[in-house]
């Protein structure tokens, strides 16, 4: 029914990369990253994050270069050209496993947080089912609609977090960041690697670049996206460590949310500032679930060659719902999450950059080399 209108199809403004990165990557982990990173880097966690952002922006640039070599082709298409059919198929399957695993993980975390904060005795499957159907519905419309959904929600994600940060600044104690670099540089570097591993969702660049009007122009927006995420992470770590101190960060499950709940502003008509954070975290988790559902759907269709988008979407929804039951308890999920962070390093940085190197060495290009 629809006209091939001006904004639809494979002609996106390169600036959408910023929004795609922010909402695709930011998820509930943003509120727990302080817990993961402070045992490693201690009070210097913020240095790790800044260091990490440099490396991540470099690899984001490389990912765009990789996409720009093969204009208009999906990662699955040029993957076959570079690695050859069987190898590309194998890597594709690995990615599918990685994505479904991650989807299950975040759905489990969303369900867990939901059980603690909102619905204590509702069977956990029902809220997740509601989210899963919405995610499958959105994912079935494709990446363009997904990006539009992200753009619509961007303000709702960023504004409350900024507001909360501004309110938290008063309560921070800089003494909690002393002494700087007391344990040498190694813990900071390990923290950097950990931070890099938490940015699951960077793959969105590879999927977005073929849809862009010009891949070259996407570099700046991608860097902006990485910096905004770094900024948000920094804000969270500053709030958590600055208000609570590193010992207490490790003692709580959701340090950032606890830190926010400690803020007190006399004369301000709101007592529980967590209220401001519920909206961002619900949005962040949901957009990430949507993005991974999309990855899974397009991955299954691209790698296994299945054409029925609807059926595949509902399969992805089933993965989300199953995620609630896969893990026996929350500590296991946290443990698995740690392993996933290390796996992410491989899937987000090592493999795509190797692919790019091979493509450069073997002089593979889109279009002419066909």
């Amino acid at each position: 029914m629809s006209v091939s209108g001006n904004k639809s199809g494979d002609n996106l403004d390169p600036r959408v990369v910023t929004v795609g990165l922010i909402l695709g990557i930011v998820e509930f982990e943003l509120f727990t990253i302080a817990k993961g990173i402070t045992p490693i880097a201690r009070q210097d966690a913020w240095i790790s994050v800044i260091l990490g952002s440099v490396i991540i922006s470099a690899s984001a640039y490389l990912l765009i270069r990789l996409g720009a070599r093969f204009p208009g082709e999906t990662p699955f298409q040029y993957g076959e050209k570079i690695w050859g059919r069987p190898m590309a198929f194998f890597w594709g399957l690995m990615y599918l496993v990685y994505w479904s695993g991650f989807l299950a993980l975040i759905s489990q975390e969303a369900s867990m947080a939901n059980r603690v904060f909102f619905l204590k005795s509702t069977p956990p499957v029902i809220p997740i089912l509601i989210l899963a159907i919405a995610a499958a519905w959105l994912a079935s419309y494709g990446l363009t609609s997904l990006i539009r959904f992200f753009q619509l929600n961007l303000a709702f994600l960023l504004l409350p977090m900024l507001l909360v940060f501004v309110m938290a600044v008063r309560n921070m104690d800089l003494h909690n960041f002393q002494p700087v670099l007391s344990n040498g540089l190694m813990p900071v570097i390990r923290g950097t690697v950990y931070f890099m591993g938490t940015l699951q969702g960077l793959e969105i660049i590879l999927f977005l670049v073929p849809l862009l009007r010009s891949a070259e122009a996407a570099v700046k927006p991608a860097l902006a996206g990485v910096y905004v995420i770094t900024g948000l992470t920094l804000m969270q770590i500053l709030t958590a460590v600055g208000i609570m101190g590193k010992e207490n960060v490790q003692a709580s499950i959701w340090p950032e949310i606890v830190a926010i709940s400690l803020i007190e502003l006399p004369g301000f008509p709101v007592e529980r500032f967590e209220l401001f954070l519920t909206l961002p975290w619900l949005i962040a988790v949901f957009t990430t679930i949507c993005l991974y559902t999309y990855f899974l759907v397009s991955g299954i269709m691209g790698i296994l060659g299945i054409k029925k988008r609807g059926a595949v979407s509902y399969f992805a929804a089933a993965v989300i719902v199953l995620g609630v039951y896969i893990f026996p308890n929350y500590p296991t999920a946290i443990q698995v999450r740690r392993y996933f962070s290390w796996a992410s390093i491989f899937f987000l940085y090592v493999l795509p950059i190797t692919t790019l190197t091979i493509a450069v060495l073997r002089k593979k290009r889109g279009g002419m080399n066909g």
Binding site: D13, F118, R272, L282
Partner: protein, 405 residues
């Protein structure tokens, strides 16, 4: 009368370009796409009924002229406003039993050819015995008639239609209906009012526009939010406010969500009553009955005061939405968010928000995404749609602009 004659003479001089278009298939039952002259020679006479005021909006500033029920008169109103040969008018006749004239007017080179072609296609595809009102055209050419959101704007004022034409939109005029249709439409066009544009100071205009967006969000979510907080997460209510709510609900026999549904229903009933009653007594009786119900309810303790505040605020907020069709949509969405909140608390509230947002971003009006220019974001176009920028001339946006590919 003399002034009128002058206008007619002037109009006769203005040239309309007749678009001759070959119909691919001609159905004998419905002779559509017929090409006739836009102006039948005389400036049509308008009866007294047509000139009597209709007050769907108060007019603060700007022309008081409005469209009437005769197609030819409406066309000449547009021609009077845009005396330019690029103003194109395509004529259709729809209805097998009682055919009605329908005209699609647009500015050449401004309107996207894809959009005009799509409108032509959808208009010729209508198979009906007659067209009672422009709303019948509307529901036939919409992208999704299941969507609560209107995908075609209705307008009563020629200056609104003119502004739409200049933006590159298409005006569809139906004979016998004083409302013309503007297509395509985005959410922000529906939230726009004439008064914003005509306001002198852009800061005030932006302020009121922002207030309207907030009122829109209030209208959709306030009762749901109240139900979610009081029935699921009372810890998020400030303690002193909690005391007040507790005190007011001490003897209330019904749960909060029931109270909210009940009162929302009463509001709808009073509203319907006001529409049906003759205007002299209607307002007074509706007001009296509403006030009596609320006072009796409060006094007997059947309902609490907070819910009355919330529901009244919601009703007031819903009137901040200028478009009638959008207001209707919001009234129904209120109940959707409320149901979700009654069952799943804050989580359900957020889920309802996601479902509405997904629907909004996937909805398109004639190929234009509904939330343009917010999603897809086009900051260059926001000056005219989302905000009102400070420009000496009428600001134009690229939302409906043809793309050079």
């Amino acid at each position: 009368m003399k002034a009128g004659l002058m206008v007619i003479k002037f109009l006769k001089k203005t040239r309309f370009v007749k678009k001759t278009e070959k119909e691919p298939k001609t159905n004998p039952d419905t002779p559509s796409g017929q090409q006739t002259s836009c102006i039948s020679g005389d400036f049509p006479a308008v009866s007294m009924v047509d000139t009597a005021p209709r007050d769907s909006h108060q007019i603060l500033k700007g022309s008081k002229k409005r469209f009437h029920e005769k197609l030819e008169y409406n066309l000449s109103l547009l021609a009077e406003r845009i005396p330019n040969p690029r103003l194109i008018c395509e004529n259709f006749t729809i209805g097998s039993l009682a055919p009605k004239k329908v005209a699609a007017v647009y500015l050449k080179d401004r309107a996207h050819p894809g959009i005009t072609a799509e409108i032509r296609k959808r208009l010729t595809a209508i198979r009906a015995e007659t067209v009672l009102d422009s709303s019948y055209i509307e529901r036939n050419i919409e992208n999704s008639s299941w969507s609560p959101f209107p995908q075609v704007e209705t307008a009563e004022k020629p200056d609104i239609a003119e502004s739409a034409l200049l933006q590159g939109r298409v005006v569809i005029i139906t004979d016998g209906s004083p409302q013309v249709l503007l297509a395509p439409v985005t959410f922000f066009d529906l939230m726009d009012t004439r008064d914003d544009t005509y306001m002198r100071w852009f800061v005030a205009a932006n302020f009121f526009r922002l207030a309207r967006y907030i009122m829109f969000i209030f209208a959709v979510s306030l009762p749901a939010f109240y139900v979610a907080l009081t029935s699921y997460n009372p810890e998020l209510i400030p303690t002193r406010l909690l005391y007040l709510i507790l005190a007011s609900r001490e003897n209330a026999p019904f749960p909060v969500y029931f109270e909210a549904f009940f009162l929302m229903g009463i509001v709808e009933a009073v509203r319907m009553m006001m529409v049906r009653m003759p205007s002299q007594v209607g307002t007074t009786i509706a007001l009296m009955s509403g006030v009596t119900l609320v006072i009796a309810g409060l006094w007997s303790g059947i309902m609490g005061a907070p819910v009355v505040i919330i529901v009244t605020l919601t009703m007031i907020s819903s009137f901040g939405i200028p478009s009638y069709d959008l207001r209707l949509a919001v009234r129904v969405l209120q109940f959707f968010t409320m149901i979700m909140a009654s069952f799943f608390g804050i989580f359900g509230f957020a889920a309802a928000f996601f479902y509405i947002a997904i629907h909004l971003v996937t909805l398109k009006s004639f190929g234009v995404p509904y939330m343009t220019p917010l999603a897809p974001t086009d900051t260059g176009s926001m000056g005219h749609t989302v905000f009102r920028e400070n420009t000496p001339v009428m600001s134009k946006d690229k939302t409906y602009k043809p793309q050079k590919q």
